[in-house]
Amino acid sequence: MSNELNDRLRAALRPVDPGERFTQSVLARIASEPAASRPTVRPMRNASLPWLSATALATLVALALMIEHQHKAQHVEAGLEARRQVMEALRVTSEKLDVAYRVVKDKDLPGTEKRGA
């Protein structure tokens, strides 16, 4: 009693098969389509796909680490070079100060003798 309308609807809406001629028409239309509109073949779509993804991911991570390492090495090298340049500048400055000190000291020698006499 309760589901009679539902059952009648299901019976009235049974699928209708268009027949073999329909299948052949579809295949004929596909065959006549230009190659560009045909699907791209996807040969590895099952079990090998996760491994491929994992390998690709590992390669990317390794590449990223390598680039990071190179970047750090370049940074350290630049730091060392800067340090070397500062030390060189200090050395040159020190030498100049030495020279200036000696000149001043040589000029002051007679006075020193006076004070000592």
Partner: protein, 198 residues
């Protein structure tokens, strides 16, 4: 080989993806009744339905690489068929179809009450496109409201509302045409099943 068997469908899909035309032909053979019937009952015109169904399979062939499984294939076919049919109906001039013809055209049954079934199909063809699609997915494709909602990109409440209103309309119109809704009429007492389809 039974193409409706899920494992066989998966195998056919893999072979079709590898470019095997015969495998694609078997996929078409396995799904053409559902696709053609949806198109036919949405459009109520055999020629238009056949064209639309062929276009759907041509589209499937072009987009085969994006189909992930046999279940996805069924979902894709129903969704594309119904959406294309609704688009087609929007472009079609109104009132160019005899609804009595619709019942005759779609008739393909050996049921004991062909007149009532013809009447049901005619009444379904009178529903607006969206509720008609919902009713077809429910009663032809046997989908539950959640599956219908996903297929038609509707909310579950809209689907249930379409089902309830459509069933009420069918009951009312069948009653108005001389079929009692309860008792001696051909359908006895009607109750719909939307309340239990949560």
């Amino acid at each position: 080989m039974n193409a409706n068997d899920p494992s066989t469908s998966e195998e056919l899909l893999t072979r079709a993806l590898a470019g095997e035309a015969a495998a694609f032909g078997m996929l078409v053979r396995a799904h053409q009744a559902a696709v053609y019937s949806l198109a036919l009952r949405m459009l109520s015109d055999r020629h238009e339905a056949e064209d639309l169904a062929q276009e759907v399979f041509l589209g499937l062939h072009r987009h085969l690489a994006s189909v992930e499984s046999a279940l996805h294939l069924e979902f894709w076919l129903r969704k594309v068929t119904v959406n294309r049919a609704i688009d087609h109906l929007r472009r079609r001039p109104r009132n160019d179809l005899s609804l009595e013809d619709a019942g005759v055209l779609i008739s393909d049954t050996t049921d004991s009450d062909p007149l009532l079934q013809r009447r049901l199909r005619t009444l379904l063809a009178q529903l607006p496109p969206a509720p008609r699609a919902v009713m077809l997915l429910r009663y032809q494709e046997d989908l539950n409201p959640n599956e219908i909602a996903r297929t038609l990109n509707m909310s579950i409440n809209t689907v249930k509302s379409h089902l309830q209103r459509s069933l009420a309309t069918l009951r009312e119109r069948l009653g108005a045409n001389g079929h009692s809704q309860c008792g001696a009429g051909p359908l006895g007492c009607f109750t719909d099943e939307t309340g239990s389809l949560t």
